[in-house]
Every structure is written in structure tokens, then in C-alpha cells.
């Protein structure tokens, strides 16, 4: 049986109340001081682990805490079979074209997520790891940076540890922690040339950052690691960074991974989108007064009659788990709110860049 991470024990009446509050215009959130685009406050720090190439720790105000360590190792690249006489031809080609563009492999980045109370083959950690690695691999710039020469490459291990039990859906938190850890990651600088066995400078001060920082460029034009933003739809409203209880009444949940748009300098670009199964599908349906003989109604005689009576109270405000998916218009509305100039993505990436790195 797959354990549901974010399942909350709310009664149908509470769910119904919460949903009607969230579907008002403007929505009234669980924390009433927050608007639909506000994120929960957090404490963050970088470079906390001395033995890792880069690391970060983020703690949310509700007690959820994540620690990310990035370690890099030099690894050999498997060679394709070549005939003996062609050996030098291949190396010549390598010398001509020394740029690393398009040479990175997806297998060079390995990600592991550990969530307390879950085995590492449960659905939640597997899903979190693949969503995070999808977004990291999407652009292709990161894996190209791990290329050393034709025979060697860096292998990047990103290990994510959720220190607290998953009090709310941890995807956004883990992605922000990974973002900070990658920003603080440094790789030793290379002293050897071309196809020699790699030799590195042992001076840590000379190490080059994995994501180069140049303060002259504006933030949006810089190359930044992706960040995943969680959005829920409740009725017509779109709410970002939902709490656990808000997630329990959502019609649909969307995770949008985006990064800075690079050259053009306006807004952000999307690297990956996924829908997440909202936990509201598993909530118990309410029994209306009209079907309950204890409150003056008449209990249905047969299961067929019960079905008909259930279908007829669709809009009466009695809690029924939502059905169906997400309207296509809603998807494009969410992505537009995330990527537009001054949108949620730019805000989040800007805020994370403001944290003192190193």
C-alpha cells in the first residue's frame, strides 16, 4: 500500500470549509496574512558541510528542514570501440573541437533523495528524485560543464536529506535547497591540458564555481540552476507554495521547473513541467443531511439510488472529492504567472540569489 505523504486528517466538513475559503476572490488562505503568490518564510544557509563540494540547508517556519550535499568525483568515460589505425585520427578530432558542447551524458549526475519514514524505493522519494534530475538535465549546460576531456569527466552526486518528517509536500523546499547547494558548488581547477590524465590545483581558493557568478550581468541573464515551483488550482484561483491542508483540497497540482532565460534577459524559461496527483482524490466524501436518516433525511434504499442522489448534489457545497483533470487554459495561466517578467520564478530566483553564498 503506498503511504500517502501529505494526507491530512480533516473531516469532510472541514475540507468543504477550507475549499470555499480558498475559492473566494481574493482567496483566503490558511495563513490569512498571505496572498496567493506568497511563499512561506524560511531560513537558509550555504556551504555548511566542509567535506562536500557544495552544500545548503533550508528550514521552513513549520519545521520542515532539508540538507543538500553536492560531491564531485573524477570518473572515466567509456570509449567507443575503434579500430587500431584510427586511434590518432580520433584524438586529432578531439583537439580541434575542444568545447564541451553536447558532450555531457545524463548519467554523469546522480541524485538521491532520503525522506524519513520512507524506503528509498517508495513512490515519493523516487518521484522527487526524478523530477529534480529531469529539471537539472533539461538545459544540457550543467552536464556539459562536467566534461574534462575525451577520457575523463566529473561525476556529480547530489544527495538530498529531508531532516524532518515531510510535514508538507517537500518538492519546492528540496528544489530550493538543491539550487543553493549547486550555486555554492566549486570544482578544483584543472592544471593538465587536453587529453592528459587530469591533474588538479590543490589550492581550494583557485577552484572555479560550477555556476559562474558575474555580478556585472543582470540576474536574469546569468545561468542559474533550476528551481521548482509548486502551484495548486482551487476553483478559479491559482495558489503558489501550498501548505499541507491547502494541498488536501486542491483540484489539481502542477510542479513547474524553471530557470533564468539566459541571453534575452526577460522573465524565465521552463525546463520541465509535471502534474502531481492531488491528495484530495483520497479524501472521504461527505454524507449530506438529505441522505442521512439521523438528521431528518431519508437513507437511500438501494446502492443505485444512493449513486443518483450523490450525483445530484454536485454543486450543493457538500464535500465530494474532485474528479477529472486540469483545464488546458489553467495550465497555460499557471505557466504564464510563473515565467512572465516579474513573475513568481524571477522573484524566487532573485530571493535565493540574495542569500550570501560562500
Amino acid at each position: 500500500m503506498p503511504p500517502q505523504a501529505a494526507l491530512v486528517n480533516l473531516s469532510p466538513a472541514e475540507l468543504s470549509f477550507l475549499r470555499s475559503a480558498l475559492s473566494q476572490t481574493p482567496p483566503l488562505r490558511l495563513d490569512v496574512t498571505k496572498g496567493p503568490r506568497d511563499f512561506r518564510s524560511m531560513r537558509a544557509e550555504c556551504d555548511v558541510l566542509p567535506s562536500a563540494n557544495g552544500s545548503a540547508r533550508i528550514a521552513l517556519e513549520d519545521g520542515t528542514e532539508a540538507l543538500v550535499g553536492v560531491k564531485a568525483e573524477v570518473d572515466t568515460t567509456p570509449q567507443r570501440p575503434v579500430l587500431g589505425e584510427q586511434e590518432h585520427v580520433v584524438t586529432n578530432n578531439g583537439d580541434e573541437d575542444s568545447s564541451a558542447n553536447g558532450k555531457g551524458r545524463n548519467g554523469w549526475i546522480e541524485m538521491s533523495v532520503q525522506v524519513p519514514g520512507f524506503r528509498d524505493d517508495d513512490a515519493l522519494p523516487v518521484f522527487l528524485a526524478s523530477m529534480l534530475s529531469d529539471s537539472l538535465l533539461a538545459g544540457g549546460q550543467l552536464k556539459d560543464r562536467l566534461y574534462i576531456n575525451t577520457r575523463f569527466h566529473w561525476k556529480l552526486y547530489i544527495d538530498i536529506l529531508l531532516l524532518s518528517p515531510p510535514l508538507s509536500y517537500p518538492l519546492g523546499l528540496l528544489s530550493m535547497a538543491t539550487h543553493l547547494a549547486l550555486l555554492s558548488t566549486h570544482l578544483p581547477s584543472l592544471k593538465s591540458e587536453k587529453d592528459e590524465d587530469p591533474l588538479f590545483d590543490d589550492d581550494w581558493a583557485a577552484a572555479s564555481p560550477l555556476y559562474p557568478r558575474s555580478s556585472s550581468k543582470p540576474l536574469t541573464a546569468r545561468d542559474m540552476p533550476p528551481v521548482i515551483i509548486l502551484a495548486i488550482a482551487v476553483g478559479p484561483n491559482i495558489i503558489f507554495d501550498p501548505a499541507k491542508e491547502e494541498l488536501a483540497v486542491a483540484d489539481a497540482v502542477l510542479a513547474v521547473a524553471c530557470t533564468t532565460s539566459g541571453g534575452s534577459g526577460a522573465g524565465a524559461k521552463i525546463v520541465s513541467i509535471r502534474t502531481i496527483d492531488p491528495p484530495s482524490h483520497l479524501t472521504p466524501p461527505a454524507v449530506p443531511n438529505s441522505m442521512n436518516s439521523a438528521t431528518g433525511g431519508t437513507a437511500p434504499d438501494s446502492s443505485a439510488q444512493a449513486l443518483t442522489m450523490r450525483e445530484m448534489l454536485a454543486t450543493s457545497g457538500v464535500w465530494t472529492p474532485p474528479r477529472g483533470g486540469m483545464k488546458r487554459g489553467l495550465v497555460s495561466q499557471v505557466t504564464k504567472m510563473v515565467v512572465e517578467k516579474g513573475g513568481v520564478a524571477e522573484e524566487v530566483i532573485g530571493a535565493l540569489a540574495g542569500i550570501e553564498v560562500g
Binding site: M1, V126, A138, K269, I270, T275, G324, G325, T335
Partner: protein, 323 residues
Amino acid sequence: MATNTDRRRNNPPSGGTHAPVFARTLREPEYLQTLRPTRTRGPNELRRIFLQTSIIPSASGSAYLEIPSSSANSSSTLIPPTSSLKITASIQGPKPLPRSAPFSPSLLLTTTVKFAPFATRHRRGYIRDNTERDLGVHLETALRAVIIGERWPKSGVEVVVTILEGDEDGWWGDAHASGSGWGLLNVLAGCITVASAAITDAGIDCVDMVCGGVAAIIRNPDSRDEEDLVRVLDPCPAEHKQVVAACAVGYLASRDEVTEIWMKGDVGPDPDALIEGATHASVGSLAVVKEVLLEALQAKFQGQIESSQGAQKRKAQDVEMTG
């Protein structure tokens, strides 16, 4: 992962085995490029689909989907240029939960997606690995939203999908293609379509038929410009040298809703065109699914009418024996 190795069987090397490399491809590098398959369909043209329901008698619902390889097999090489997709799905249930299970107010859906060990170029083990689990999560998301679960309290249903042959991540000659994961999107779309047909075959209440479709943005192979991008429906990753972004959706056509989106790659600021392309592709597969289900239903009722008529006839022919 060390915990995932199978210690009970005598397994082949864990790194997988390679397709044989022939001397000619090494001596003449240009020869290899002539084997590269190209897309012969139009950008909006889908591959043909074969679907059949009720193939496993002991399951309450089942279906088989096949998308055959689009390029013709050439006789000059032993290696097939493109792969095809073959998936079976079977449904067990709805059946009551075991007594020890906690109360559940709605139908508990369990999805298991497994590649057969021989389904891809690299051998898959018997124990599900992370990509297979992840596909299972995707399929569950796609199906959970369409099944009206509150009508079956305290029961469970298992969707078991076996991939007999999976789409490849790219052409076998491109070293960078393996492990890129583009073929998984096609596999997911196929899984959604075939599982949905099997659920309909099992007679489980749904709000609509969910169908899978894939669209991709690729670099135009005909032009020199790096920025010249084309959108294609139902991409076969082996036929495209550079896939920039791709998207698989689970689409409810009559409600115009998506239950599942899996998009990855360098999408840019506006993903709408890609999602729209994927929904067009899923409408194409919906047409096939509808026809097949209608045929299956007709055949079922035809059979019932005939058998009931036959029974009446037999009764009339029975001679009452009197002593």
C-alpha cells in the same frame, strides 16, 4: 543501487551487453551515417496503432497495444533502425481489501509498470528500477483523476502494465542518445492509452476515456540554422538527431482536460504549443481506442445473443424421455 541487485538468479553482466559492432561501420564512418533512419511521415502524422482488448481471460480487463516500427527493415544490416512499442495491461479488481488493511473511503489504485528484461537494448532486471517506479507514479496520476473512486469504498484495483518492447531513447549509433530518456515519454503515453482501454474493458466507472499523446520540438534537420525548430507529433526518437523538448500528456477529450503532463527539455517561455501538439496526438489515439472498444462491445453482445438463442434452440430439440 546495491539493494536492488537480484541475488537469486544467475544474471548476466550488470553493465548490460552491447549490440555487435561490425567492422565495416568502424572502417568507414560515413557508412554508419547512411544507416540513420529519417522521419518519412509528415510532422502532424501519427504512427499506426494496433489495439486489442480482453486478451487475458483471467483478468477483469486487459488490453494490448502495438505501435509498429515506421521505417521499413533494410536487408543490408542486422540491426533494426527504429524500435517499436508493444505494451500489455491487465486489471485485477475491483476486489475487497484484505481484512488487515486500514479503512479506505475510495478505490485504492495500484499501478505497476515493468519493462520485460528483453524490452530495451540494455537488459532490464527482474526487480523494478527507478525509471519503472517513476512511470508507475505517472500512470497513477493519469488514471486516479478519471476513476470515480468513491463508488468503491474498502476496495482496491491493480493495474499491471508490462512493456514487451519499449521505444528507444535515440538512434543506436548516437553515443549521446542512450539514457536521454526521450523514449520514456512515448512509453508513458502508450501505457496511459492501453491502461485506459483495459479499465474500460473491466467496466470501472470513469468520467471519461484518458488517452496518451506525445509531441516534441526538434532541430530542423534540413536547415543549417541552430534556432530553426519544428514541432512534430508522435516523435520516434531514433529518427531525430536532436530533440530539444518533448511532452507527454494524458488527455480527456470530451472534457478538454489534462490529467497528466510530463514535459522536459529546453521548452522556452511558452509551453502551450507543445501541450497542444500532445493533445492532438492523444486525440488521434482516442479515435483508435473508441473504434476498438465499440467493436469489442458489439462482439460481446453478438456472442451473448447467439449463445442465448442457441440455448433456446437446444432446449426445443431436447426430447423428453418418458418411461
